[in-house]
Amino acid sequence: MKKTSLFSLTSVLAALTASPLVAQDAVGIDEKVNQVFAQATGPFVSLIFAPFPGTSFPWIVMWLVVAATIFTLYFGFVQFRFFKHAIQLVKGDYSDPNDAGEVSHFQALATALSGTVGLGNIAGVAVAVGIGGPGATFWMILAGLLGMASKFTECTLGVKYRNEYEDGTVSGGPMYYISKGFNELGLPGGKILAVVFSVFCILGALGGGNMFQANQAHAQISGIVGDYPGWITGIVFAAVVFAVIVGGIKSIANVTEKVVPFMGILYVGAALIILIVNYDQIGWAFGQIFAGAFTGLGVAGGMVGALIQGFKRAAFSNEAGVGSAAIAHSAVKTKEPITEGFVSLLEPLIDTVVICTMTALVIVISQQLIIDPTTGNYMLNEAGNAIATVDGNSGVALTSAAFASGISWFPYVLAIAVVLFAFSTMISWSYYGLKAWTYLFGESKTSELVFKVIFCIFIVIGAAASLGPVIDFSDAAIFAMAVVNIFCLYFLMKLVKKELASYASRLESGEIKKFTH
């Protein structure tokens, strides 16, 4: 029965794409969606990415980096001091055997990572390097290292102020720590800020957590099977996501959750193989990254252009300061909320410093970006807004071409990886968005269903729209979350500092000790 329906679906899709009349209409639908979407989101995008007067530097990028730097300094470089301890926590050295069966630190980290590791690491890096040049990688790594402190702050609060219900389930995230934390400090406006955050979180879930994923998954699939209308991919994706989040078909989600980590390992493995084969060029690639970081090597906007792209894509990829990870991490069972903060600081490290850097190195080494032999600088494309590439590729297609230059069949693996990553990120973000939605509208079945249906509709829009407006809206929505979240973290960080001081002294005195396993 299942086979028959799948067959008929494929034949319908084939018939749709085969008919020139329908195909023309379909492209028309894509264009229309794109136009309406770009118009509707334009003002919001402009506000979030407004540059400082007289410069081209968006204030939001500064906002994230300044916050990450402040948290790094305020907590005395917590990401380096407690790095070893974070690894020990993930290994379970400090887990009470009596709590076996609860969510472990490893599981919370893996779940949060499956929401962040994905297209940001594959397509996002290609966008950053394609526009900002290799130098963007340097700023991306720096943003990743600093972002570890932001993540630490928000995830500690996420666990500390989560809601634990009588039936044993939990709900946590910025909306809870903002309202409860402000209340505890006697500050006004917590509830309003929590509501504003929730609104942005819903937009972020629909944007970066949904439309961007659908869009790039479509780009990848059509790159292999040939061009066809985006809304078809959208409908297929929406149907599968609908089956999981509304139909409760856990088996699909379970399979994805198990396959995605292996895809991640496969991706990093392939990148490593390409780097090992071209080991003689690694030094040159790092040279390009450093030189580009401070000179721009001819990219649009020069050094600042590289910096903006690096910081932007790092934040989009690891979501440090955005608040989404706090929702994912809040389910862990621990008597010490700060332990989850330590564990979460590994996330930007794995996501940005390791995986993103590998992608960037592969792109640089594969020489997909065209260098002007006379100046040694990168050549710009016709529009003058990005580096010219060998086949005019951008986004995920650029990463795909870069990997193909080392391993010819890898684009097929990458296509599967992209689809799975996109899918797992969508499932994660549907949960983040849902938590924000239920915070606003209550935890009733009807209200949950309304959000889930909206979420699925946006998958179709995301797949049909063209990359530019989707990326702009996705970035804007995710960064809007960071505006509220970071503003509140400044007030709440002293609560984390108190926890940190208490935990550090108890760890020092031996009161907190390892369990022998």
Partner: protein, 145 residues
Amino acid sequence: MTVKIVVGLDGTETGERALNFAKDMASRIDACELIVIYVIEWSPFTFQTAEENAQRHKRREEEIALATSRIVEPAVTALRDAGFTARGIVRHGDVAETLDKLTVENGGSQIIVGRASADGFAKRVFGSSTQNLVMHASVPVTVVG
């Protein structure tokens, strides 16, 4: 001194036979306590969705309640009714490792388990819990067929 014998149950018929063998042993010892243990297979290193994580605590409580009421409690009650000193423990974890650890923690001098219940491919690749227990246990293990 009371001799403590651990009986590892897995909810199958072979567990029942292990229990009978333990009773036979205990009846030959003056002061003997039988500790009935059921380990719910679980690993802290699996991958779960955010939603599964949010419901994990609730599921864990349900799993423990189910294992206690269906497997451990009936066994302990039957042993007590037959005049033995007995108590039960339910814990999540790797079956072989947890059974051994709990035995050591509770001062058990030996473990009695039913023979392997896993079949086919998985058993060939990973070995059964019983095999793992026999290979790594800190105290003597009796496997009842």
